[in-house]
């Protein structure tokens, strides 16, 4: 069983730059998404990822473009890091035709086949067997890709999780199951929902590798994830990786950040370990980043997000005839011809 990792800073300037970029992009994007929600430009459920950015940035940095990613309804950050354009994500949030699913899905259901992003899924636990199925398909085809399945910590209590991980362990499928343990499932703290709180230990029950890592330390996340991905790719050994993180916002837009199920003090304590602040500080300490460079990146990202907003705002609503499109695909008639 792997254990806690501290970051072992390697000075890979391009990588550092990318990790910082990916984290800050998510933060700036979602700050504006919150604003758009308040203005009524975004509707329905909208679950922000603020505080968890090192998880997506760190884990996905260990992936290849042909690997697969699947996640929950808290999917904006994962989508952006995977490479779905901010314009397409924002337009989806605005319910417009240029959104990554043309306004059909909204906040919870980002998909993009071009980057093997298999979706944001709305039913807690339901996508975990899908990830196992993707792993099965990879093995079936003899490929060396990996599927990464993100989930909140509540998911480990669902039947689907248990069934899916048992099959992955039984059949040695190339899947990395990443628990984004942000301590709460809606208003329920992890210790009020799970009989054990070291969630990675559940790996033992499925004969797969369990590991945990500090989710606010992007380099540590990357390192631990790299091991897990290598294990899946080269040995077909699945991993259950528990990433300990925080969300600095409410569960969704209708939920306060603190005050009901967690105290203001607890929230503020967690904010001291803001992954972006920590990484920026680290880079400055090793002399890899100046204030001016950070400022420049921040300005660029704010501009990119503004551009996404403007694009989304100008994108038309989906045409009404699309209401009836994509319920079923046409099966080519020769496939249906008798033998």
């Amino acid at each position: 069983m792997a254990t806690k990792k501290k970051s072992t800073p390697k000075s890979d300037a391009a990588l550092d730059r990318k990790l910082l970029h990916d984290m800050l992009l998510q933060r700036r994007f979602e700050e504006r998404a919150a604003e758009a929600y308040a203005l009524g430009k975004i509707g329905g459920f909208c679950h922000l990822y603020i505080g968890q950015e090192a998880v997506s940035a760190g884990t996905q940095s260990a992936l290849r473009p042909d690997d697969y990613v699947i996640t929950t309804y808290r999917d904006h950050g994962q989508a952006l890091v995977r490479g779905i354009a901010p314009r397409a994500v924002m337009a989806e949030l605005f319910g417009r035709v240029d959104g990554c699913v043309h306004g059909k899905g909204g906040s919870m259901h980002m998909f993009d086949r071009n980057v093997n992003f298999l979706g944001g899924h709305g039913i807690v636990g339901a996508h975990v067997p899908l990830a196992t199925g993707v792993g099965f398909a990879i093995k079936y085809r003899g490929g060396d890709q990996v599927c990464v399945c993100y989930m909140g910590e509540s998911v480990v209590n669902t039947g689907a999780f248990h069934e899916a991980l048992n099959m992955a362990g039984l059949w040695k499928l190339p899947v990395v199951y990443v628990i984004e343990n942000n301590r709460y499932g809606m208003g329920t703290a992890v210790e009020r929902a799970s009989a054990i709180t070291d969630l990675f230990k559940r790996a033992e029950a499925y004969n797969i590798v369990g590991a945990e890592v500090d989710g606010q330390d992007v380099l540590a996340v990357r390192e631990t994830m790299t091991e897990a991905v290598d294990r899946a790719r080269t040995e077909q050994v699945p991993t259950l990786l528990e990433v300990r993180t925080f969300r600095y916002v409410g569960h969704s837009m209708s939920d306060a950040a603190s005050g009901t199920y967690r105290s203001k003090a607890e929230l503020e304590e967690s904010e001291k370990r803001d992954p972006i602040v920590l990484f920026r500080r680290h880079l400055q300490e090793i002399g890899a980043l100046t204030d001016a460079e950070y400022q420049k990146l921040d300005d660029e990202l704010r501009a990119a997000v503004q551009d996404a907003w403007d694009f989304a705002d100008q994108s038309p609503e989906p045409p009404l005839e699309t209401l009836f499109e994509d319920v079923l695909v046409e099966t080519p008639s020769d496939a249906m011809a008798g033998v």
Binding site: G106, T158, L320
Partner: protein
């Protein structure tokens, strides 16, 4: 008479029945410390304690089954689904355990349980969170299926459901929780299986249930301005269905529009139309028209969602159609 919200009506029903019968307990996600995802169970943990108001992990299949087991040996569980969309995970327990046990056990074990929570679409929650399940549940012998559309009915029917010795699926409406209506202070019950004529007219019958009762009433108001007065038959319970009430109304008006929130194919409306053709064939002056959700998963975009949902204009158009006005 006091005017209260649908949410408070449900809350009061839970509270009164928990006070009345200590075998009644409430279990579900966020029902206790968070006071319910939609605040229906507000204050109940403080009043009844953690043995009777129980927060669960996200494990619908598990706690629905737990409820059935507890009911078999004498407790009277109320199992809250945060929404009925998530109850799909528990459907095996609802269908194969709750609905069948009395029959399979030759009448030895009844299952006095209530499965409840919001059903149907709210606003822009897209495909997985915007579904009406009453026709699925109504298909199953061994279940009762209740869909109150007003605060009065919500309270009276929930109390009846809790006292019922059978499994009752109780479908609320997220968009209804804040709606208000008269609810008496004194105790009352609304019987399961009885429809209610919510409005009287002679031109046409709108037969509906659940959240669509509001839509039907609004449509009826607008139609009245054009001198068209309709019956609004609120089924209230979709299994067992009040066949006599449907016939009474349609035999009077000779025309019917059936309005439901869910999809068309094998929907509740299909069953209502069957009852109408059986009992009112010789009375009908026009084919019955159905109003329902478009036959697609619910889209997110505002304009598409609006186009997909049954609403007041579509209901009015249907009434005008059966009256050969357009």
């Amino acid at each position: 008479m006091p005017v209260i919200t649908y949410r408070d009506a449900l809350h009061d029903a839970l509270r009164e029945e928990m006070q009345r019968d200590d075998r009644v307990f409430l279990m579900g996600e966020e029902v206790a410390e968070y006071n319910g995802a939609y605040k229906v169970s507000k204050g109940l943990l403080a009043e009844f304690g953690e043995m009777r108001v129980v927060d669960t992990p996200i494990t619908e299949l598990g706690f629905a089954g737990l409820g059935v087991g507890a009911a078999m040996v004498g407790l009277r569980p109320i199992i809250e689904f945060m929404t009925w969309n998530f109850a799909l995970l528990a459907l095996d327990q609802v269908v194969n355990s709750a609905a069948k046990t009395l029959y399979m056990s030759g009448g030895q074990y009844n299952v006095p349980i209530v499965f409840r929570g919001p059903n149907g679409a709210a606003l822009q929650l897209s495909a997985q969170h915007s579904q009406s399940w009453e026709s699925w549940l109504a298909h199953i012998p061994g279940l009762k299926v209740v869909t109150p559309g007003t605060p009065y009915d919500a309270k009276g029917l929930l109390k009846s459901a809790i006292r019922d010795d059978n499994p009752v699926c109780f479908l609320e409406g997220e968009m209804l929780y804040n709606t208000k209506g008269e609810v008496p202070d004194e105790e009352y019950l609304v019987p399961i299986g009885k429809a209610d004529l919510k409005r009287e007219g002679d031109a046409c019958s709108i037969i509906t249930n659940g959240k669509m009762v509001l839509t039907a009433m609004q449509a009826a108001d607008q139609l009245a301005r054009d001198g068209i007065h309709v019956d609004v038959v609120d089924l209230r319970t979709v299994r067992p269905m009040d066949v006599e009430a449907i016939a009474r109304s349609v035999q009077k008006t000779n025309r019917a529009v059936v309005l439901e929130e869910g999809w068309e194919i094998a929907g509740i409306g299909a069953q209502v139309v069957d009852y109408i053709q059986r009992d009112c064939f010789d009375w009908l002056d026009a084919p019955v028209v159905r109003v329902h959700q478009a036959d697609v998963p619910m889209p997110y975009a505002k304009n598409l969602e609006r186009a997909a949902k049954p609403d007041v204009p579509k209901t009015i158009a249907a009434v005008r159609k059966v009256m050969y006005l357009d």
